[in-house]
Symmetry: D2
């Protein structure tokens, strides 16, 4: 009998999710599976919203941000009733494997289902790059480039007005976006949840680079460490600078995926099918040391993917 795979996207959307869906669907069909798309993440599982996919279902989607399967954060799935309903729907639809594309909240759901006997696979998809076990999550590269392009625009104005510009970027608990975008754009200061915030040092540094003739500065702030507006108030209270603030918000989540995101998503989606074929299930598809590997969930959860402090130091040496 033909085996059935269901695929869903869950949590915050991320560019490249469509490429991952496409890879799961097409590679799955290529190997003889029936592949079903679930709308709105775990919510759709609960509601039994399974749709049989074919090659065409995922045509013309790879170049678009967002997710054609839609996504949601399901409150119902966290309740016992919701979870049981989800389980029952998966069984009633004879789903053999569930592929979940999302962040750590989504992985928690996949683990719970695995524990209840549904074989699952997780493809890391979130712009924040903050999942345990993997050095890369689909969507991160597009978000970085969106921040970089925005900072390039903001730099025009900061340079023309000789001002300090503060740019608040996403990152509640982890500063990956702020750190890597900060290195990429040459930000004068980067404020991360992982590093103690010392306004004295920042203000002193602004003053020094101003003395050295630097006419404007860019400060990147991860939302998790402070509000951009608060940093601006502190700087204008302590120095002569009147920083202006931009909160990038949701533009960081959308946009056409970059090459890297589509490549990673395609390869990870395909890897999920390859490992299902080998019955290597209940695994996180992870990126480690330049390769796609799989990690059993419990092992993945043990490995925090923190920021690389040597990069933080490098950024501050280079940005004076």
């Amino acid at each position: 009998m033909v085996k059935r795979i269901a695929v869903l996207t869950s949590g915050g959307d991320a560019p490249g999710m469509n490429a991952a869906i496409r890879a799961v669907v097409r590679k799955g069909i290529h190997h003889g599976f029936e592949v079903f798309g679930v709308q709105r993440g775990y919510e759709g599982v609960i509601q039994g919203d399974f749709k049989l996919m074919n090659f065409h279902s995922v045509g013309g989607i790879i170049q678009h941000g967002g997710t054609v399967l839609k996504t949601a954060r399901s409150e119902a799935f966290k309740t016992a009733e919701g979870f049981d309903a989800a389980l029952e729907q998966l069984k009633n639809h004879y789903i053999d494997y569930l592929v979940v594309i999302g962040g750590d909240g989504s992985m928690a759901g996949a683990i719970k289902l695995a524990d209840a006997g549904i074989p699952t696979m997780v493809i890391p998809g979130t712009i924040d790059n903050d999942m345990p076990g993997t050095e890369y999550t689909v969507g991160f590269d597009t978000a970085l480039n969106t921040v970089l392009e925005a900072v390039n625009k903001i730099r025009d104005t900061a340079a023309s007005h000789e001002r300090v510009a503060i740019v608040e970027v996403m990152g509640r608990s982890a500063g990956h976006i702020a750190l890597m975008a900060g290195l990429a754009c040459g930000a004068e200061a980067i404020l991360l949840p992982e590093e103690p915030l010392d306004m004295d040092i920042i203000c002193e540094r602004l003053a020094k680079s101003h003395q050295r003739g630097k006419l404007y500065s860019i400060i990147l702030v991860a939302e998790g460490v402070a509000k951009g507006y608060d940093i601006a108030s502190q700087i204008s209270a302590r120095t002569d600078f009147q920083p202006h603030v931009t909160v990038l918000g949701y533009i960081q989540r959308g946009g056409n995926p970059t090459a890297t995101d589509n490549i990673m998503a395609s390869r990870m989606g395909a890897a999920a099918i390859d490992h299902i074929l080998q019955d290597n299930v209940n695994q996180l598809i992870a990126w480690q040391k330049g390769q796609i590997v799989t990690l059993p969930y419990e092992e993945a959860l043990k490995t925090k993917h923190g920021i690389d402090l040597s990069i933080y130091d490098l950024a501050s040496i280079l940005a004076r």
Copy 2:
């Protein structure tokens, strides 16, 4: 004796200002003038910061946002002492004509100088497109496209999560950016300073389009009418929608200029020189009915450039 032209940018920077500077410098030199660049707007005039420009001075700048002459809002220039100092500097440097690139605040300065006997010309440059006397100001087209690109990214996320997205754009007193970007991106609602704000109508409309099956909506808000966050609160208080908010801020001011902005800036900069040659001075270079014309300042000030309400109506018919 060779006549001298000074050129400055003032007020908020706008993409295309560099093309205008380049046109003033190169066309000026072409016609035998000496052209001086003034740094930091009227502040630079007061400080006597005049730099002789040549063809090379403006090479490799046309493709960049911001202004190579830098810009500032000068408080000193508004005082009697500052103004007098500016006048004296212009005379001491034998400046025959001053070309000012900027918005209405900058034009006010040019008028004051003209009244004091310095022949001036104004090239309209501000992203807001809100200057009297002209249908177009350099920088507007780039700002529109920046908003459009941002909304395209935000739409990915709004569609994937089936949410209402509120995007706050620039426009304190005039809604040109919100209106034209709203038409261009197909926003479901556009909130303008020029139109009374009726939250009932907006909420009803969101509800209706949702009933008709529209799964997400984009609302553009000009900063002059309300804060995006306030609109979001009102909508979530009155409906089931939980809008998310993006404040585009300074990214609207920067970026590589579009073709239209560079074309308009180049033509307007050249026109300033042409009219100086004909001694048609103390004029606003204006765009009217598809042509570049000049308007004496007093006439320019009489003609408010308001929004076109028929476009507002069209946007609301098309966006249902």
Copy 3:
């Protein structure tokens, strides 16, 4: 009885066509018409491929290049049999008005149908901006910006290698794209079908700007005047420069539409409906002097929309 409008896109696709379709459909429905979309231009008319559209049919399309109605150049429609078949289909489907979005070839078809008794309207849509009677055609602005962005990239390499870069752009019979993009990007030379080509002058100019210290040059060539590769051969035969060549080709036809194209397309599409309502048919919707007007076809055909030679002169003064 409800009146029926059919809408089609024909000839080369152009960004903004989707916004025009959306405007015709939604404004048409708003005023009580039934609106039918025809696939593949006149080919679809011949085949009777009429599809009733509703508000949703044109949702989520405004941000995309190309045309959701698809387009084709129909050989059959040029034959007597094909034309008769088209007429019959329009009558059998009780089509009262046909709105054609396209270039001058498409307008020729609309005129022929009008002469045979089918009321038609034409919305100018082609990236080349070369239609008689109108100063603007939908798609032109996006194409200009695509060329500008490409030249910005090519400039990086030309400047780093201190070379002459030749960029061949679209424009068989008219040089609008080359001229306006050339002004916008600051090209050192612009070769147009409308201007006699003097390689001596071009080579002399390259030599002179090189002597003056200009380390690289950009030459824009409209495909109608010469092949970029031929110009390169001539330059390397006569000078020490070894130009490199880029043929932009079809990337000029695609891409997300700019704000201007979506605004013009939306307004022109709506105008087509407004004039149908007033029974002002068999008209070209045209852009003249900053306004949307209508022109009877015979009048439109009389007015050639040539390039503005004063802009050509300006570009060459500014680009030295």
Copy 4:
């Protein structure tokens, strides 16, 4: 006595080279070196064109494509006289270390100098990603994204006209760009120098996907395997398709660097200084298994960085 480092860019320019220069200069100065920039690659060495750099020399460059040090392919350096002149200049200027940013031709020069007693370091910089010893070369990611964006535009037109579009990309001896961009954009076929070209299979595949209802196709061709125009001729001779062709050319070499290129360039530039500090010289800075490592030149030359055929197979499974 203060040690001196010279840095140059050589061969074809690549986006990210400026970030690498900036990192070498600023990290070098940070550790107490004097850093000299050499103009025009090895040509500048021969001419003794060494310029002392400071923190400001590399300000405001990280966001731009190309290289502020300019680049060239030096014929003189390949002669004995030229090489000796270069050596003498390096000695006369008391250069202790030379950092070369470029591709394999540039590395050959660095090896020759190392053999003659000048300690050198190589940072891999070329869009082609075809250097031995390293999995990544600075510039590759930007080039991939440029191709991806171009294909996204071309797809609009191909889809609207239901045609086959052929896109010729860079890659004389290696198909990295074609392969990875092909996977990222979902190309229907990818033609690589590394894979035997079978037009029968390609034509059959086009026919099959057309039968399955696929209305358009994108074919990516690396310039090293065939001219795009020749492939088009062969397809139109054997099938009913009339493909259109775009040759991307030099736009692939320019453009603002992506986040990845600026991050890699910054880290590799800094690593070059770190290893000089440890006297670990005559090394290629290489990317392997997700980490920056160094390889002695002879070892680097042994390791060919070929394409990953499993990715080629994946692309063809996914693109049907």
